[in-house]
Symmetry: C2
Subunit: 285 residues, 2 copies
């Protein structure tokens, strides 16, 4: 398949990410429908012109007519959905997802999926600290990264469509990573940061601390307002890679602590110079 304005796109799961996809694609002139579990989310999306049609039912005709299906649901829900409902896909349907961990998901889905349907996995790096379609905003895709994670089961055509989807959504940098590379990267860049933010928020009772705080604490804990069900799932699905990054962070943090303990001003300054130089690469272009 190729992606064009007549492609029937179906989004399954209209949350903050699914909603952002719907809004961005509809704004570009694509035909977007959705299946999601809450009727009120569909009403919201229709009112805001984000979708053509939505239903809470397993609408067989809608699924059959879909040429590109985006799963924007929890990893476990995604896998279960495929198991139960893949007989409803038309041959040649292309499936993609937005899942934050890959090794536990992609292999399983690709191994159970029908041979005449292809699953190409991707990760839009534009999560929000709030969940729900009413917080979806395609503006967050601008300047953000989009990672496609193909396996040997994927065709060049599907990889290309998936990248095209990322570009049409408005992402600035489209990259390709293997499943393993992706999960290591995400353990460091995303999961470790969430573990740090939560620990910072829970390590001390905050009674009236908000009266005295500056922006640094606010920044480091923005993501401490967190969807606990989704993230517990993501952490545990990527356990080994995450534990490895947590240990490496603790090691480095202890090194910094030892320098403070021993009054090693020069060592501290060196670390901070490295930090400043490295951080410069991360500013949004």
């Amino acid at each position: 398949m190729t992606l064009n304005k007549n492609t029937n796109i179906l989004i399954i799961g209209l949350g903050v990410i699914g909603g952002g996809y719907a809004a961005a694609l509809t704004a570009k002139g694509y035909r977007v429908s959705c299946i999601t579990k809450n009727k009120t989310d569909i009403e919201y999306a229709l009112e805001h012109g984000m979708i053509l049609y939505g239903t809470t039912e397993l609408d067989e005709n809608l699924i059959k007519s879909a040429e590109l299906i985006v799963f924007a649901v929890y990893p476990t829900v995604f896998i279960e959905w495929i198991k139960s409902n893949q007989h409803l896909f038309s041959p040649g349907t292309l499936i993609t997802d937005v899942t934050g961990v890959k090794s536990s998901v992609v292999d399983e889905v690709q191994s159970i999926l029908r041979d005449d349907v292809e699953f190409i996995s991707a990760h839009p790096m534009a999560g929000r600290e709030r969940s729900g379609v009413e917080y979806s905003d395609p503006e967050v895709f601008k300047g953000a990264n989009y990672i496609v994670t193909p396996t040997e089961k994927n065709t060049i055509e599907a990889i290309e469509v998936c990248k095209e989807l990322g570009r049409e959504l408005g992402f600035t940098r489209i990259s390709e990573l293997s499943i393993t590379e992706h999960d290591e990267m995400i353990a460091f860049l995303s999961q470790l940061t969430h573990c740090i933010a939560v620990s910072l928020m829970t390590c001390r009772d905050t009674d009236s601390l908000e009266r005295y705080t500056g922006d640094s604490f606010r920044d480091l804990t923005r993501i401490a307002k967190i969807n606990e069900k989704m993230w517990a799932e993501l952490f545990l699905m990527n356990k080994d890679a995450l534990l490895c990054e947590m240990n490496s962070f603790i090691k480095e943090f202890n090194r910094f602590k030892d320098m403070i303990q021993s009054g090693d001003r020069k060592g501290l300054e060196e670390k901070m110079k490295t930090s400043t130089a490295r951080r410069a690469l991360f500013d949004k272009k």
Copy 2:
């Protein structure tokens, strides 16, 4: 003294904070001069209408005519300046500062200061990751916290002027803390967060990681672009309180890690629920 539009205000040190003070007070109609070490910073401030007059010299008349002097320099520079130049103050001059640690600074300055001059210490919680007058912006004071840290050596009048200064600068919440309370609070809210951000930035080589990152890593490392000289000084001046907060963070982070290790989904979810509830208090009003 009382603060009014005829008060001669002198700012010593025209960096990102001193510059923000100058701009905010001048915009409100106050008479603001400055002494700072770089001529180009004075030129910048004059061009942008931030000050009435500035000099790189130890201008005796300027210092004598100042009724309120704000020190916006490194802690060690502040102490040395007082030692060398306090004979130039007029009797009745009120001094304040913007220093990020208090126990190592306030006691020393108050103990060496002339009896006819008063020092009331304050901490504007609105630091920036960039230094230099060209990055100063009084807008950052809006919605931010301002902490006055009086000791038994301070008069009620001086405390009131200092709070009034905070209000005139545009700060939203003006609080009072003891020196010890302040330094504990800052060890947690500000110094610990900087140690975390730097360690996160230095614990892994970042080659091309910026291609894959999302906003969470960017947020947690905004302050990893850091003025290494100033922060090494601040960390070491508040060593005991900071080490205590670092240890408590490591303990909590390890607890979270153990839950991941053992697959304790319920424990992780509980922690994250606590985190979400606590973080809600920190949103800017």
